[in-house]
Amino acid sequence: MDFIRNFPMFSVVLSLFSGVLCTMLSGKKARIYTIIYECILLVMVAAVLRYTVVTGEAFTYVLGEFPAPWGNELRAGTLEASIAVLFIAVMLCAVLAGQHYVRKDIDESKVNIYYAILNLMTAALMAMTWTNDIFSGYVFLEILTLTSCGVLIVREIGRTTLAAVRYMILNLVGSGLFLLGVVLLYDITGNLLMVPMQREIAMLYQDPGARVVLIMATGILTIGLSIKSGLFPFHYWMPDTYGWATPTSGAVLSSLVSKCYIFLLIKIYWRVIGIDIFTDMPIRNVLFVLGLCGMVFGSLSAIRAENINRMVAFSSAAQIGYIYMGIGLGGTAGFTAAVFHIMAHAVTKSQLFLTTPRLAAVSGNSLRFKNLQGCALRDPNAGLFFLLPSLSMIGIPIFAGFSSKLFFAMAAADRGGIKLILVMLVLAASSLLNALYFMRTLIRIYTPSDPSNERVRHHLDYNIPMTALTLANLAMGLFSGVFAALIGQGFSMFN
């Protein structure tokens, strides 16, 4: 067996150990350690990605000496590996670019605990990406729930405490529903590993009694994970959660944590329920409609927001709607578009959340639009890194946002019928609304207010990760075919 096949297991166990280790270090050492270890992790997952692309097939990794239906398993295919690379890369950029604000927002005695919680979160992200066992998915989903409240609450102001309480209650409801779904599936199949579970489900679906349980279990799993990721009627926790957290946490929560839940859901649809059975279920159409509603209502809320962070957070709700619309369209094309949008949005939104506090810093520490006038001129660097992802969010060609919208439209065209018309109409409306609020913001921050202010210069710790994220964004826009082929290869390995 090739040594590279051990890397998924290493990435989880090493992250767990790093989380524990960071509590023993001082704040500064914990930061340096976290950065170094995440670089190592990035190299490892990139090696796994290259390995799966070169060999052209997925591999499973038995944890311990007991094989498939008895022990736990990890699985690495192209799709898992590319999602893992994305997660680690964005996490590294967020840690690098937000370290200034970590020093500022968090009490000195708790900085090491902050990095410990971030590392445990990395472990949970990795485990949920690689897992081939639905109950391991639940265990690490618990860690992700707790850590996401931890990184929020660490700022210790009234708003984050309030937001964390709301976020935790909704998250726990989601976890409970997810567990209920897993229990129902376990009860009828007698398995927890994905492959034997899917085999049982394919047989049970013929039986009308078991079909009721299956549809109910899938529905409960879907509701649980969509509450956690913030689909339309459940998106009201987003603005407070993302808007008031320290920038690193905001970026990580919006671009990684909610995406990880969606990725787990996609994995369950393909590898537990089976994509043919899922296509047959009515849940798909519900997701489609809720996704469309989210696209419109998220954007409408974003237009009404008075505060730049709330606007960006509500725009996240709209983007989650895009992803669920792709899942609702179904077929490989729809899912490919959804996963491409997960990647595009993760790269873009983290950049926006890491930049807004810099704009606020030159506007009297206020995030309100009325105080932000001309801030991009006072801080041209941050202005540029707000401009580029904004253009991507609107969907200007050569950026990733344009490609993902194109993929959604193409997937809808494959499907045809009433869904095509709905997708086209709502996509146009949503893009228009996106353009409305981002253009308004851009005009506001580039309108000169008073010329006397001196300009702010940034250090490399901000510029390097931002440049990397921008380059990734451009690459995904310009070479979108390569990424789509990668994702398509990953989905073909899923069966």
Binding site: N6, M9, F10, L16, G19, V20, L21, T23, M24, Y61, V62, L63, G64, E65, F66, W70, G71, N72, D105, D107, S109, K110, Y114, I117, L120, A123, A127, D133, F135, S136, V139, E142, I143, L146, C149, G150, R155, E156, I157, G158, R159, T161, R166, L180, L184, D187, I188, G190, N191, P196, E200, V212, V213, M216, Y236, D240, E306, N307, N365, S366
Partner: protein, 323 residues
């Protein structure tokens, strides 16, 4: 009455002008507050005056809100709960009956029951399953506890932003004094009798996880409750001699670090088809079950520390002595 505030845009409501609300606004917005919000308050009296006024303002805000929405919200909540319960009951009627299993779905359980003893070396099959067959899940589960402890620490441990009032300090100090003065209370007598039994029983449950029902999680919980009773009866001064902030950190670090490395080693050797050189021991003896005993001890220590940590953080805002 309003249970859940769906309208999260409170900050966009017109906030009445006046100096009284500056403090609340600043604390809530976090725009100005980079240092301690406490430093802006001159006296305790002023702080409580501000607090009372701000709650009055919030109450007024709630009362003036739309009543129709609240009625709508209540009815939707009730209807959706009833719907969910009904659908779940409907689903349960289709689940397989107890005792009637299809032969393929009990394939997994069958091997656990039949071969569990010789494959894991543990008489207690539950321990064998959670610490050997499905060790990866338990590896995550023990870190869930640690994560929870870290989150509570972030929330409750005192620092420059999270300070206590003089009143709270007064009560903590008064409690400690009380424990010093009244040595002969009923609580102390009962605790003195109970504590040795509790610790002994905790250690027994912890060490016999591979032989009899019990193991790391339950044994650790008993040990942790022993520590909590000790702290409640004899004051934190007694537990501070054993568990300080540093020892709590060290216990968590060494237990979980050992856990990660031991299991990482087993995963590595198992997946690569190597010999792992861990003796299984004679089933039924105390030294049996391969790694199950040391892992149980590690988990038990983490659980005990976590439980005591929660209690200590909630009561006085730190694990180990006040700085």
């Amino acid at each position: 009455m309003k249970i859940f505030d769906l309208n999260f845009d409170v900050e966009e409501e017109p906030i009445p002008d006046g100096e009284d609300h500056d403090l609340l606004e600043n604390i809530m917005d976090g725009e100005e507050v980079h240092d301690s919000p406490r430093e802006k308050v001159k006296t305790e009296k002023e702080y409580y005056r501000n607090y009372v006024r701000s709650t009055q303002w919030v109450q007024k805000l709630i009362l003036t809100e739309n009543r129709g929405f609240n009625v709508f919200y209540f009815s939707v909540a009730v209807v959706s709960c009833v719907l969910l319960i009904g659908m779940l009951l409907f689903t349960i009627s289709y689940l397989p009956r107890y005792g009637v299993e299809n032969p393929e779905s009990i394939l997994v359980v069958k091997r656990y029951v039949e071969n569990g003893l010789q494959e894991t070396g543990a008489v207690n099959i539950i321990s064998g399953i959670i610490l050997d067959y499905r060790a990866f899940d338990t590896l995550g589960e023990s870190h869930v506890l640690f994560t929870a402890l870290m989150c509570v620490t972030v929330l409750l441990r005192r620092d420059s932003k999270n300070m206590r009032t003089q009143y709270e300090d007064f009560y903590t100090i008064r409690d400690e004094k009380y424990h010093e003065l009244y040595r002969e209370s009923i609580m102390k007598f009962v605790a003195a009798v109970l504590l040795p039994c509790l610790l002994l029983y905790g250690a027994y449950v912890l060490l016999n996880g591979q032989i009899s029902p019990g193991g790391g999680f339950s044994g650790g919980a008993v040990l942790g409750s022993g520590l909590i009773i000790c702290a409640a009866a004899f004051g934190f001064r007694s537990t501070d001699r054993v568990i300080t902030r540093k020892t709590a950190n060290l216990i968590a670090f060494f237990s979980l670090g050992f856990y990660s490395f031991a299991k990482g080693y087993v995963f590595f050797t198992g997946a690569n088809g190597l010999e792992n050189h861990i003796p299984k021991g004679t089933p039924g003896a105390i030294l049996s079950g391969g790694l199950i005993l040391p892992l149980d001890i590690a988990v038990g220590l983490v659980v005990a520390t976590t439980m005591f940590g929660f209690y200590s953080l909630f009561r006085r805002g730190s694990i180990g002595g006040n700085k």
